[in-house]
Symmetry: C2
Subunit: 343 residues, 2 copies
């Protein structure tokens, strides 16, 4: 098959059929179902194996393989990087769950709840090292660039988690700061997965830049959806009770945009008090009063508008990638699937 | 200068003068004194900068540079790896201090005591990523081998810490198991530092193997000295109160060797009870009774004998390295310095 050349001088005559999104997902699922991370000592590795087998969307390895395949990389050769990026993601979850005191992850007890704090710390550290072990197995002339990208991404993710914790203690977070934090905490790893996949396929630099833009907006849209679902999700479909962000005083898009939209100082002050952990109201009352303000401002529409904006920007970035449209189909499918998600 | 060739066909006519051990140490000190790890957000990076500037022996970066210089590497080019290995070491200290609830490190409050548990976890994670960032800056044809070595070392160190924690809960630890744990927890990183330095200088594989043996025995000797000093150190020189390992029921070389040497089941049972955290005696009484047994068995001599054995093995490994003796001088100096250490 002839790859479409830069500048459009030579078009490929036959369009290559990419796999369907669900096929990439099932390839990744199969790989993780086969993978065994248990070895000596079990006290260190069993929690890693547990964490890698309790499910999850496998979004990051899937993005990595799709980006690799789009540019006609060898996805078998890219698979260790896909495993590595999921190991890294799960390492951050182990530590985040401990830092955030989250009892459940994917409906199962979190590692620190099941094995204790020290296990969550040390098994997490080991997962970070195992992520590198897999990354280093990749054979590619662009491996050094991919490793640099992986490392830069890891640093951004750590910074994102720190900003998230810092913002919980602050009343004056702007929407721009929130989006910066969300980029680092959530979007950066999606960007990293896409870039690594493309780098390993030796994709052109300008196409990698478009993928980066795609991943950035895709990540922001994804997080804003999470913020919206927390307040307005259909509980049985969303899988967890709504209002948890309000109870935790999380400064998500909804309260921050509400502060901007608030009509008058009274509403603004009421909101600020509701977002303060020292507020004397019960959790239920706090959720109720906050939701009243959200409804009066029609915050759901404003948030949906922002989500649509980021999905549009992601789709535009995809258009700019210099590949046949069929090569972009799985990422289009992903955008559509996530656009309509209810959980 | 002509490097001594393999097989002795061509000897170097002029002996190269290596720097003195203290010169390598002061090069490393100078580099760390200049280094600034503080950036945005300060809540994440200030604890990293603090941890990198409260001192320490800087043993690992020094070993890396010496090994590099022995084989006539470019130590300026190896410096990022030396910084990386110290970042990695300090990352493990941040997490170990939290896991072991240690209030002080180098006479200063530990990071988790100063900034809280979450900071110790996340700043530690970031230091691990920064260690990689520095490693990836190195320019060398052998960089991939050095990165593989670094990663394998990191995994061993995590396993060592886990075995150490596991052994605290077990009564049946053998000396072989203790030495295996000590190799992973302490010696592996010294070995890693030496190997990375030598790899970056493109040292021959058999010389790297001798360095590995040197680092292994050097690390074990170092740890057994620590074990001995905890019971028999001169407190003002040692810098901390003796007997802490006994109070913490740490299964170090001293109690494990005492169990082997114990004359009769009674002494053995008394020792096992003294090593049990549930023992009803006060800390002071426990130290006193344990020291009585140690003295009656002359455990200090037995431990000194084991230390001397490992120093001898390290010195022998150094002899086997196919380099002019002057090139090995700094490592000889290091052995001598540590042989006589009182703290």
């Amino acid at each position: 098959m002839v790859r479409q050349k830069r500048g459009g001088l030579l078009k490929s005559t036959t369009q290559r059929n990419m796999k369907q999104l669900k096929e990439y997902l099932s390839d990744v699922e199969y790989t993780f179902a086969q993978a065994n991370f248990s070895t000596q000592p079990p006290s260190l590795y069993d929690p890693i194996d547990y964490s890698m087998h309790i499910g999850g969307k496998r979004l990051r390895p899937t993005l990595l393989l799709i980006a690799n395949d789009m540019f006609e990389g060898n996805t078998d050769k890219a698979m260790p990087a896909a495993i590595g990026i999921e190991l890294f993601h799960n390492f951050t979850l182990l530590h985040d769950d401990l830092m955030d005191c989250s009892p459940l992850r994917r409906g199962q007890p979190t590692v620190y709840r099941k094995w204790g704090n020290n296990t969550a710390i040390l098994s997490g550290d080991t997962m970070f090292a195992l992520a590198w072990q897999h990354m280093l197995q990749v054979q590619s002339p662009n491996l050094m660039q991919a490793l640099q990208c992986f490392n830069q991404t890891a640093i951004e993710v750590c910074e994102g988690q720190q900003y998230d914790m810092d913002f919980e203690q602050r009343a004056d977070v702007s929407i721009d700061q929130y989006l910066m934090m969300t980029h680092k905490k959530t979007a950066a790893l999606l960007v990293g997965a896409l870039k690594i996949g493309a780098l390993l396929a030796q994709a052109p630099a300008d196409d990698i830049a478009h993928l980066e833009t795609f991943g950035h907006h895709f990540g922001l849209a994804f997080q804003l959806q999470d913020d919206l679902l927390d307040a307005y999700g259909d509980t049985p479909q969303f899988g967890k009770a709504t209002g948890q962000d309000i109870i935790d005083c999380k400064k998500t898009y909804l309260p921050l945009r509400s502060l901007e939209l608030a009509t008058g100082a009274d509403m603004r002050n009421t909101l600020l008090k509701l977002m303060d952990k020292q507020h004397p109201l019960s959790a239920q009352q706090r959720v109720q009063q906050t939701m009243q303000i959200y409804n009066s401002l029609d915050i759901a529409s404003h948030t949906r508008h922002a989500i649509a904006h980021h999905f549009d920007q992601a789709a535009k970035a995809l258009q700019h990638i210099n590949l046949p449209e069929t090569h972009k189909e799985p990422l289009h499918q992903l955008l559509l699937t996530l656009h309509d998600r209810k959980k």
